[in-house]
Symmetry: C2
Subunit: 342 residues, 2 copies
């Protein structure tokens, strides 16, 4: 199983996803600032994986700090710093909140005890994610007719999570159950997570796939071979509106037009009940160069401008179901989400 985040005794090891598949380089990080930087520059990415990395980063923040006041202030500084790394994926804030709760619970204990409890909680977030993904995979595979081909966007596999995947986890499960014909992978510009990362994962497991340019999704869906569009989520609002990789909204519109269901596949940690609708989800805009210079090679002439939102919002009415570790949620999502989280 691909495990992009590994904790070993005071060091967080991250597989640098910006370099895949050309080179497999592991980063050895020992400070929370290094982890925040890795999140910002997408060395670790994917909403669940960001949450997991942020949990361990808070452990690093108090690693080797034994004085309580000093540790409190280091913890709080790290928590603020990590929260500022990326704005859209809510799992980041969710993980920080879980560790903040533990830190508060241990306010009267020794720093050593508190740190131990933090590490247990960070490991638990990690393990829960992997377990949850496998359950999600089974639930999702049940939705697919035998002999299905599916269409995905971005990387939602082991690299984006604790180690199994959300939408790509469903692909894995469907393949294991003999239900999958083939996965079509949107290459997912600007950063090509589809062709770089999904292809890398699927090739290792011998799951058949084809990469297509994002613009070809409409033509592909019109052919009738694709039976479901499977996407991950960076944040799901209380009403089911979902922020995900730029291009997901286009897929939602195209799937709807062709009568193909679009399934959002995500752990419940991606749901943000404090955000009522998709309109309130902050959308990160990134630099021009990701668009104008693919893979670092200049395409557009100097002086060109770009529009580079990293995410878009797919409204609930375009989502046939949300597949979670607690089952398949159907509209109306407000109620289904509340019931699943109860």
């Amino acid at each position: 199983m691909i495990q992009p985040v590994c904790w070993t005794d005071g060091t967080l090891e991250l597989l640098d996803q910006t370099l895949l598949p050309v080179s497999e380089k592991w980063l050895q990080l020992t400070t929370w600032e290094e982890v925040a930087e890795a999140i910002r520059r997408l060395a670790v990415r994917g909403a669940p994986a960001i949450g997991i990395a942020a949990g361990y980063a808070l452990v690093l923040a108090v690693w080797g700090v034994d004085e309580r006041k000093e540790a409190d202030s280091a913890f709080s500084e790290a928590s603020h710093g990590l929260a500022a790394a990326r704005p859209t994926a809510v799992n980041l804030f969710w993980a920080l909140k879980r560790l903040e709760g533990v830190w508060r619970d241990y306010a009267e204990e020794s720093v050593d005890a508190a740190r131990g409890a933090l590490l247990i909680e960070a490991r638990r977030i990690h393990a829960e994610d992997v377990e949850g993904n496998k359950t999600i995979g089974r639930h999702g595979a049940e939705l697919l007719p035998t002999g299905s081909s599916v269409l995905t966007i971005c990387n939602t596999g082991g690299l984006a999570t604790g180690g199994y995947g959300t939408a790509l986890g469903v692909v894995r499960s469907a393949w294991a159950e003999g239900k999958l014909n083939r996965a079509f992978l949107c290459e997912t510009r600007p950063l090509l997570q589809g062709s770089r990362l999904n292809a890398w994962e699927l090739l290792q497991e011998g799951i058949p796939f084809r990469v297509l340019v994002d613009g070809a999704a409409g033509a592909l869906l019109s052919r009738g071979e694709v039976k479901a569009v499977l996407v991950g989520a960076d944040r799901i609002a209380a009403n089911g509106d979902t922020a995900n990789k730029i291009g997901t909204y286009s897929l939602g519109c195209l799937a709807d037009r062709h009568g193909v269901p679009l399934y959002v596949v995500a752990p419940l940690s991606t749901v943000d009940r404090d955000t009522p609708t998709g309109q309130e989800i902050p959308i990160e805009e990134r630099g021009y160069e990701e668009i104008l210079a693919p893979l670092g090679r200049q395409a557009a002439p100097e002086g060109s401008e770009a529009w580079n939102p990293a995410f878009d919002v797919t409204p609930a009415e375009l989502i046939a179901a949300i597949v979670t570790e607690r089952g398949v949620l159907r509209p109306p999502y407000e109620q289904a989400i509340a019931a699943a989280m109860a």
Copy 2:
């Protein structure tokens, strides 16, 4: 004005579009085989520009050949060879047919006279295209409300035509008339004609633009700023169905959903009345490497497969109008096309 195709006394000069905007290299071609190869590898691309280049290539085929039988056979070989260069853009076949008509008309004359007549016809095709484009530009600009932003795909400018452009010609005309706010350019994977070529053209004329990834079109259209989607055409069937750059069909679906008109902008030479509907248009599939290795740099791991149709077909019902040099055609297109071509 950008003139990507220039004839000078036995040499066809082509601006190599595969290298733009990084380098501006002119190819000096003296045989029809070189022109066919330039068409195949997209050194010259864009349906009208391909037609123009093919016309001159037939002149090259009989350049310096003075014996009638030899010239006839050279002409016929070149005509077949050029027709095999790319299958979708109909302007290629249309230009070949025009020159074949001239060659037949001069069957009883000296080869020298026939060659002179060919060159006149090739130049006429070229000049007609430039003139036609300007008329198209004016017709198209009339469709846009003042203060419009528009969305385009692929390069449909001077580089794709005799020298002014179809969809990008409308952008030029609208800008000249003070009606344009800004052009949004789909980068147009796999070959990035939007970010490489459209940006290069618009930057030279100071027309404001932003490049976006193709997947972002849905998110952009949902914002309401874009008042029209302008696309070119590689072949328009008798019923108005239009083959154009892969991604155009997705734009058609997305424009329809958001109540934004999609206009096909093309000279009548792009209409193929022998093709009844879009279903009969042959769609070129190109190699995996264009997708798996953007700008020649490997993205996907070795062994990955891709699906790479160069074009898709937008059905007539998604096309608000076809803007031609003989005016703006509205549905039903069968009749409108017949009237315009009468």
